[in-house]
């Protein structure tokens, strides 16, 4: 798998021409079609929206510090959690890992010069940005108070928020997501380097492939649904309005038909990252390659059959409830398989605790726990009690914050040397990993108890007996917030003062480590030939010794 690229190490990176210093100036960034530069654009975009969503979260926790709704008005609070949910889900989580790591790595990992449709790729970013700013404008200026689920008839008839603008914003961003998925799918089908067969593809690519399937099949449905909501609000079509014979539950079906698969759009990429991390830091071929690859696709397919588990008390028929329950359990099995295989990969490995591994371990633990609480929700008799309480809030934050963000940060640290050509400070990165892990659990574990005690979600004020747990949660959130700020700081720091990174600082396999850091614009001086399986550390031994 070795290529002449390795030789480049000797020449000092400073003078070497790479994708970052190939061209200068704002235009060279805003008009770029280089997938690596577009990845950077996404990195800036999603960080911005995460910061917004995070600030909203901080304000939510501030309000919930005390039982009476004394900090904000009810209207304001409702706009806070709506803004928080919308920003985090549609403009941070969903575009996050695919936009940043997917864009940067897929072509590198399969030995291609770029994605299949570079211009489309840039268009996706602009759609994402325009959609995001549109929604942000609505959320800040005026605000929306429907919750991120836009349930009708509240959103269509009763809400006095800027529902239409927000819906349009999400609609636009939806197309960004569709086009990204389309681009990745076609790229993985048609751009693989000679010798890069499907079964030789890194698992990261398999994860992104599964994600693309969901983005392509799911997003159009929510797009049209939100369009109908907007149209109904403007022209009183009555499609979801019972007063005119419409059916609010139909909206819920259409919404969740996308939004359940969407949650796997949010976690599959993180799983994809973890698969790379556990092998790299235990220097072993992944355990059960075929099973992990297959389970990604299985999750993608099954995810379209379980949407009704969000509607167990909405009055859908008892039998629908049974079907959706059993299918929800089935979709859990592939996730279980992944977890066990990751664990087995560490067995008899050569494990080094660098920051990316810490995040990977954090992901495995928190995702397992969050996922298992998902099983509680899929259990009909129990969900009746906990649905629409803080139990739900805790469940999905465990997976999305504890899981996906851990995976995202782990991946960002792992590939940062390749992206920026610099090394981040190892000490501080470990500190932040621990701060985040502790702050996170303190924030969200109490919410499980709150939920089972019966505290409903989306409550601006709550009975006094729930205060102690809420205070713990708020305390945790403050720690968590600081934990997120530390990487923000040292990543910036490292770009200027960080040590130069070698081509393969972790001694990992995979084509992305065969090319200089940062890579040249055309990725590989010579199109690589792939000769063996991925994660083959034995044959890669001598390179490791170098790295």
């Amino acid at each position: 798998m070795s290529t002449p690229a390795v030789i480049d190490t000797q020449s000092p990176p400073a003078r070497r021409v790479h994708y970052l210093n190939a061209r200068y100036g704002v235009a060279s960034w805003l008009l770029t079609v280089d997938h690596k530069r577009i990845a950077i654009l996404y990195l800036i975009g999603v960080t911005f929206f995460f910061a917004i969503g995070g600030i909203y979260a901080a304000l939510i926790r501030l309000e919930l510090l005390t039982p009476p709704g004394d900090v904000f008005l009810s209207e304001t609070y409702n706009k806070l959690f709506t803004g928080h949910g919308v920003m985090m889900v549609f403009f941070f989580m969903i575009p996050g890992i695919p936009g940043v790591l997917g864009n940067f790595l897929i072509p590198l990992m399969i030995g291609a010069k770029d994605v299949a449709f570079p211009r489309l790729n840039l268009l996706s970013w602009y759609l994402f940005l325009i959609g995001g700013l549109t929604a942000l404008w609505a959320v800040v200026h005026g605000g929306v108070d429907t919750g991120w689920t836009f349930y009708t008839p509240y959103s269509t008839v009763y809400s006095n928020g800027w529902v239409v603008v927000t819906a349009v914003g999400i609609f636009i961003a939806g197309f960004s997501s569709i086009l990204t998925g389309l681009n990745f799918l076609v790229t993985l089908h048609t751009m693989r380097a000679p010798g890069m067969t499907w079964m030789r593809m890194p698992l990261f690519c398999w994860g992104m492939y599964a994600t693309a399937i969901i983005q392509i099949l799911g997003t159009p449905v929510v797009a049209i649904t939100l369009l109908l909501v907007a149209a109904e609000r403007l022209f009183h079509l009555g499609i979801f309005d019972p007063a005119q014979g419409g059916d609010p539950v139909l909206f819920q079906h259409l919404f969740w038909f996308y939004s359940h698969p969407a949650v796997y759009i949010m976690v599959l990429p993180a799983m994809a990252v973890i698969s790379e991390l556990v092998t790299a830091f235990s220097r072993k071929p992944i355990f059960g390659y075929r099973f992990i690859a297959a389970s990604s696709v299985a999750i993608a397919v099954l995810s379209f059959l379980v949407w009704g588990h969000h509607m167990f008390v909405s009055g859908q028929s008892v039998y629908a409830g049974l079907v959706f329950s059993i299918l929800s359990f089935m979709v859990a099995i592939p996730s279980a398989i992944k977890v066990f295989n990751w664990t087995a990969t560490l067995y008899k490995g050569s494990v080094s605790y660098q920051t990316p591994l810490l995040y990977a371990l954090g992901f495995i633990g928190l995702f397992t726990f969050g996922g298992l609480t998902g099983l509680m929700l899929a259990t009909l008799g129990l969900d009746i009690h906990v649905t629409d309480t803080y139990f739900i809030v805790a469940h999905f934050h465990y997976i999305m914050v504890g899981g996906t963000i851990m995976g995202y940060l782990g991946g960002l640290h792992y590939w940062w040397p390749k992206i920026s050509g610099k090394l981040y400070p190892e000490y501080w990165s470990r500190v932040s990993a621990w701060v985040i892990f502790i702050g996170f659990n303190l924030t969200f574990f109490p919410q499980f108890i709150l939920g089972y005690l019966g505290m409903p979600r989306r409550y601006h004020a709550y009975p006094a007996e729930f205060q102690v747990l809420n205070v713990m949660s708020t305390a945790g959130a403050s720690i968590l917030g600081i934990g997120y700020l530390i990487p923000l700081v040292y990543f910036f720091w490292s770009m200027r003062y960080g040590k130069d990174a070698s081509d393969n600082p972790w001694g990992a396999t995979g084509l992305e480590w065969q090319t200089p850091s940062p890579p040249p614009t055309e990725n590989f001086p010579v199109t690589p030939q792939v000769t063996g399986k991925p994660y083959d550390y034995l044959t890669a031994q001598e390179e490791v010794a170098v790295g």
């Binding site: 089908h189 048609t190 449905v221 079509l237 499609i239 059916d247 199109t527």
Partner: protein, 224 residues
């Protein structure tokens, strides 16, 4: 083979984008991309078809009554027009594969013309609905003798045909772009992918109408 292509990169054909190995790869990518895009389009319309089926089931009387208020003659005429346009589009694709510049332009223009006719007829139909106060919203008047859920039928009618019409407009835009390129003589026997792709899109839009027409105009109709 990749390296070979690389070596040849110097004299690679102008249409070949830098990141593809050769024209086949490039074409394979675009057609796969187009098909995937059409799949998303199907799901896009799918949402509304679901809504239509659900409500038709519960408000049969209203829907059948309301569908009788649509002008079946105009609908049938439009169907014929679209099928014809599919034919001219197919011919345009064939002409492109032969690299016959003038014919491409002729057939594409014909397709545009037919598309325009379709939209013209739609405008007539819509304006009639306005006159009869059959447009959902504040000015809607429940047609005589029909349950008030007739409004639901028209809501769906306007959403579905409106979205379809929008696709037609986009299609016409693409066709004009193709004509411009054809004039420049971009399309040769070796390279004519764009024509093929737009062709796929156009046929898809027609097929959507082939579903809309019976659903909206024909089902459960008792008068002509």
């Amino acid at each position: 083979m990749a390296d070979a292509a690389h070596a040849l990169a110097g004299e690679s054909p102008p249409e070949l984008q830098h990141h593809f190995v050769d024209l086949e790869a490039q074409k394979e990518a675009s057609s796969l991309g187009m098909w995937v895009f059409l799949v998303t389009e199907i799901l896009f319309f799918g949402g509304m078809f679901t809504a239509y089926v659900v409500y038709r089931a519960s408000y049969r009387a209203a829907f059948e009554g309301a569908s009788n208020l649509l002008d079946i003659r105009l609908g049938a005429f439009n169907t014929a027009v679209l099928i014809l346009s599919s034919l001219t589009m197919a011919l345009a694709v064939w002409a492109a594969s032969q690299g016959k510049k003038n014919r491409i332009v002729v057939f594409l223009s014909a397709t545009i013309l037919l598309g325009a006719v379709f939209l013209g007829v739609k405008v007539i139909e819509y304006s009639q609905k306005f006159e009869h106060h059959e447009v959902p919203g504040p000015h809607f008047v429940v047609p005589h003798g029909l349950p008030r859920q007739a409004e639901m039928f028209f809501s769906l009618y306007f959403c579905m045909t409106g979205l379809h019409a929008l696709h037609m407009v986009v299609g016409i835009g693409l066709l004009s772009w193709l004509i411009a390129r054809a004039r420049r003589g971009d399309f040769t026997t070796r390279y004519n992918t764009p024509v093929e792709m737009v062709g796929l899109y156009w046929h898809f839009v027609d097929i959507v109408w082939i579903f809309l027409f019976p659903l909206l105009y024909l089902l459960g109709r008792h008068t002509l």
